[in-house]
Amino acid sequence: MSGDDVAILGVGMHPWGKWGRDFTEYGMVAARAALADAGLAWTDIQHVAGAETIRNGYPGFVAGSTFAQKLGWTGVTVSSSYAACASGAQALQAARANILAGFCDVALVIGADTTPKGFFAPVGGERRDDPDWLRFHLLGATNPVYFALAARRRMDLWGATAEDFAMVKVKNARHGLANPNARYRKEVAIEEVVSSPIVSDPLRLLDICATSDGAAALVVTSADFARRHLGSLDGVARVRAVSTATPTYPQTFLELPDFATDSHAVVAPPALGFKASVVHRAYEEAGIGPDDVDLAEVYDLSTAMELDWYEHLGLCAVGGAEELLRSGATALGGRVPVNASGGLASFGEAIPAQAIAQVCELTWQVRGQASGRQVEGARVGVTANQGLFGHGSSVVVGI
């Protein structure tokens, strides 16, 4: 374990679902599970890094302090981070930076959410300075519209079919069958996906992830603390990289919530597109490449988006994702299983918890504890995640 790694001593989740309770209740369950997993008490924690939820009033904005208070004030330092769907990774990075800078040894990273039904709508009021409000008002450009634009390009450029997209759902549903934290635990057939109602053409209801309630938490520590606490670092999962890179001008792929891309008329586009660059930086920080990856947890907001990630992760060349999928390489038992957890397809999206949940899954996998969905011999995993407004994240977990 390198001195630049932080150890993941504990992971915990509250099952994903649609319970309609206060988000802090889910978070408490996840936090206590992570503490128990680490063999530590709440009073051992020195920093709480909360991933914010913006749809639950003030307690959601101050997630770090909300959970510090709910677990009982101990004088810990706190941080509350927001980066849309990448919030959880930003919270992890806040904890990691505080640990590596020497400000604390033991931190709790936590994200929890209660989500509304249906499409995510923008913040209330008439907000004519807010592009997120305007894209709904002027175009009705919901989140699935952007997913659909990306999916359509796969079809028209690379020959993806509705059945390819459906196969992602079928695979992830099968992966999630045995995951006790997954919301949906039943097999899905290709025919069910391709006959489900169209939401935003070419994507159908079963191509698009639901919104869920859920929570995930990590206890992360300095290498020194982990060594003292456990006697040895053998078999301890660790964070080998966290990338939170933003785009480089010009960003030429149309992303949520923009009306237009940047212009490449004057400045040439960067060699790597935005999402590939997020992953690239994670690989670089961890000193690995795609061939070193045993499994990946990626943000499958839509089935087609999972295919995009294969390419951003370097698991195949651009345009090669469908072939990789069809080969079975990304299914459990394949060369590099993707979303062994079941992914968003089986969980639904609980925004501030999601990027943390990906790290929980990789931790269970590299420890060999992913019962019923274990990737044999998993030692290195990578996550990939996209948040609107130029956020993305990629985390490398190794053992």
Partner: protein, 162 residues
């Protein structure tokens, strides 16, 4: 901006843009059609849409003198989608809701992709990535004062009428 364009949609009552300063309605000058109004930096020449008030988006340029510029009226279809459920407010959906397409069009000179609704009657089945597209204007919704609120739309060149 408030000129009545010859190329305009089936608006019958009073009509106003749904947002000010983002597009023209067209008229007798130039080639007559409506245009998106973007910004162009006076220093480095880069483009931006929506139009912005200063702050050139090129990180190597700290110019604040961005000038309004009419964008190309034609481009190439980058991708498209079709909504089968009514978007939530603040979108003002027709009742009953009719599915409609959205199109993202790449403009060659500007080197950028701009999203818009597809013209009325143009559906996903009529579109494919790489097609030539042209800017139009149509009614987005009718507001509480009975004013038709207009928006830019993309339609295939030589394609469906409305």
């Amino acid at each position: 901006m408030s000129d009545s364009g010859g190329d305009r949609a089936a608006a019958t009552g009073p009509a106003e843009p749904a947002i000010d300063g983002w597009f023209t309605l067209g008229g007798p000058g130039a080639d007559g059609g409506p245009r998106l109004i973007g910004s162009q930096c006076g220093a480095c020449g880069t483009y931006a849409f929506p139009p912005r008030n200063g702050a050139c988006p090129n990180p190597s340029c700290d110019s604040d003198t961005l000038e309004p510029v009419e964008f190309s009226a034609t481009g190439t279809l980058w991708s498209f989608a079709e909504n089968h459920y009514a978007p939530p407010p603040p979108y003002v959906a027709a009742d009953p809701f009719e599915p409609y397409a959205l199109a993202a069009v790449e403009l060659e000179r500007e080197g950028m992709v701009v999203l818009g609704q597809a013209a009325r009657g143009v559906r996903a089945a009529d579109l494919r990535v790489g097609m030539s597209m042209r800017l139009g204007v149509d009614v987005l919704f009718t507001d509480d004062d009975g004013v038709d609120r207009l928006i830019w739309v993309w339609e295939p060149v030589g394609g469906e009428g409305r």
